[in-house]
């Protein structure tokens, strides 16, 4: 078993690792963007000063960088806040910037590279116009096709950036792609959102926060975000589950209401399998019913485990075909759940054509 997974699942404490196991953990944690996360876990466990010197240095280096990104994100958000407040509509912080605003424990050491915001669909065009007027712009490398793809078929605008800023801003009007088999009524999210004190922004309610992270991970290409996002989900479930007596029941009901039962199933089952999450029996029984048929569930478990397990000490210049195959199957699946078959065929054909066209001779 991957030593990183064993410490993330709390089967072993960080002080129990010997130097050669640390050598593997450092590699796996860097691949998974979890070095700074381990810094904070070691500090919590009171064992940081007892770790090998090289480990302390690597974890500290990553922690310093992450602190810098957190500060940069706060500054960026402060800069854009007046402009967003002018729009006069609710603005919900999503993912990393939301965890940071709430001071959730898993936020410490969590890398974040962009600012994700959710606004009502009716307002997105006027907010975009305000941003463009304030010098925010789109990545010049995006083609006309990419820009149109974002607008017509996704739940967000193309990422924007300010020339003086460090961070990308992603404006969403929904949590999932509107063309998929699952549709989600964004108005429900705004109704349940929680305002932040002394701030023009709000965050999703705890169940919605979990469901967003679950849909984001399990409906994206190749489980983008990977193990780090899975750790977010596990930590959220632990934190909210311990804090509110009826959290699990509200989560299950909310998943039904928002039509996100399948992502919830994958998130909870993976958190149990890989990261040692304890789920109350009655709740797990209910969530299990949200999964696919048994053979599909078994296949998906294998694919997800294969995909989320860090590659450890394997020689990257000779990466095997197993992960390639699981990646391809997950890629096909993610598109299958997001797009109707005809649109999917058109999109994949276009992407394949682009790839052939741009392949170096």
């Amino acid at each position: 078993m991957s030593p990183l997974l064993s410490v993330l699942a709390a089967e072993r404490g960080l002080q129990e690792l010997n130097p050669s196991e640390w050598d593997v953990v450092l590699r796996e944690a860097r691949q998974s963007r979890l070095l700074a996360y381990l810094y904070h876990r070691a500090a919590e466990q009171g064992c940081f000063d007892a770790l090998p010197q090289a480990v302390q240095e690597v974890l500290t280096g990553s922690r310093v960088y992450t602190d810098h990104m957190h500060l940069a994100a706060q500054n960026e958000l402060r800069n854009v806040a007046p402009l967003l407040a002018e729009a006069g509509c609710p603005v919900i912080l999503l993912k990393g910037i939301a965890y940071q605003a709430k001071g959730f424990p898993w936020s410490a050491g969590r890398r974040l590279s962009d600012i994700d915001l959710l606004v009502p669909k009716a307002e997105i065009a006027s907010i975009e116009a305000k941003l463009l007027a304030a010098d925010w712009c789109y990545d010049e490398e995006l083609s006309e096709y990419d820009l149109r793809y974002y607008r017509e078929w996704t739940h967000e605008l193309p990422p924007m950036r300010h020339p003086d800023g460090f961070m990308e801003l992603d404006l969403h009007h929904n949590l999932i792609q509107p063309t998929g088999r699952i549709t989600l009524d964004a108005a429900l999210l705004f109704r349940a959102a929680q305002a932040l004190p002394d701030s023009p922004f709000a965050v999703l309610s705890p169940p919605d926060m979990v469901l967003h992270s679950a849909t984001h991970l399990f409906m994206s290409d190749e489980l983008r975000g990977g193990l780090r996002d899975m750790v977010d989900i596990r930590d959220m479930l632990l934190h909210f589950g311990a804090g509110e007596a009826d959290f699990w029941q509200r989560l299950v009901e909310r998943a039904r209401q928002l039509d996100t039962t399948r992502p919830l199933y994958y998130a909870v089952s993976t958190a149990r399998n890989l990261l040692g999450l304890q789920v109350p029996d009655a709740v797990w029984h209910e969530i299990k019913q949200m999964g696919p048929s048994a053979p599909v569930a078994r296949l998906m478990r294998v694919l997800i485990t294969e995909h989320l397990t860090p590659m450890g000490t394997a020689d990257p210049s000779k990466s095997g075909h197993a992960q390639g195959l699981s990646r391809w199957l997950l890629f096909v699946r993610s598109h299958w759940v997001r797009m109707p078959p005809l649109l999917l065929a058109r999109h994949l054909a276009y992407k394949a054509w682009i790839r052939r066209g741009s392949a170096p001779a």
Partner: protein
Amino acid sequence: MKLGELSQVELRRLAANGGLRYRSGPFNLQLRTELAPFLDTLQYMYPGAPLLDEAQHPCHFHITLNAVGGWRRWLRPQVQFWVDGFTPFDPYPLDQAFPMYEWGLNWCIGTTAHQNLMLHSAVVEKNGQGLILPAMPGSGKSTLCAGLVSRGWRLLSDEFGILRHSDGQLLPLPRAAPLKNASIPLMQVFAPDQRYGPRFDKTRKGLVVHLAPPPASLADQDLPATPRWIIFPRYSDGGVTQLVPQPRALAFTRLINNSFNYLVTLEQGFQSLTRLVHHCDCYQLENGSLEAAIEAVETLAEGGSQ
């Protein structure tokens, strides 16, 4: 045991199995490669590098350097650089594996080793006192650094001024210094006794020949130095050589721009950089020839150490 003490067979076996681990300055490195000519160059440039025992020393960086597979290898053989499974660069021509390794390692250090403040500077030392030579465009810091090293100064680094936050000491990172284009024949005439690596034609930075770190510098790589002088060299062909004192506030702002990670290290970076300029005499060194520049620095050092 040292890198230079391994037999060729043993070195290749270790490297192919991912078991080659050695220390470079403050960093533990693990290197996996099957490229025999590259390994020969590595051993030639760093014979004194201490090997590390896997059971004792986790590594800061795990690097793989191998030929790119696929049909293209027959047409145009290329080498790729992996760090912890990522490939941050486009492949290089296969025969440029050593420059790719050196630049790749610099990139790894510059983008992740934020536990220290890192200046883009050469650092040398004499009598326990460190001299920082910040890299500015057209400064000729690499040439001046190589020149001082050939006159007996200890090389800490040709590229990284690594400042430890806890005590403000400069940490050595003695590595092969990539001499470029016109500075190659200049150094080979000026310091013929130094060890030079193979010629790499047409790299992304032109013609490159590496100057090996002197054995004594490598042997003392665990020994930090106390910063004493900051000298901003500026070379102008045939110009007058003179040391001009530089106000500390100006040196401070110039070093902010010279740092790899001043902005990333936030308050700690500010504390370390202010302490550095407080403890150093700062100069601009206008110079027209290598010999005159070295003489100016040596005169200063002799006066300063009395």
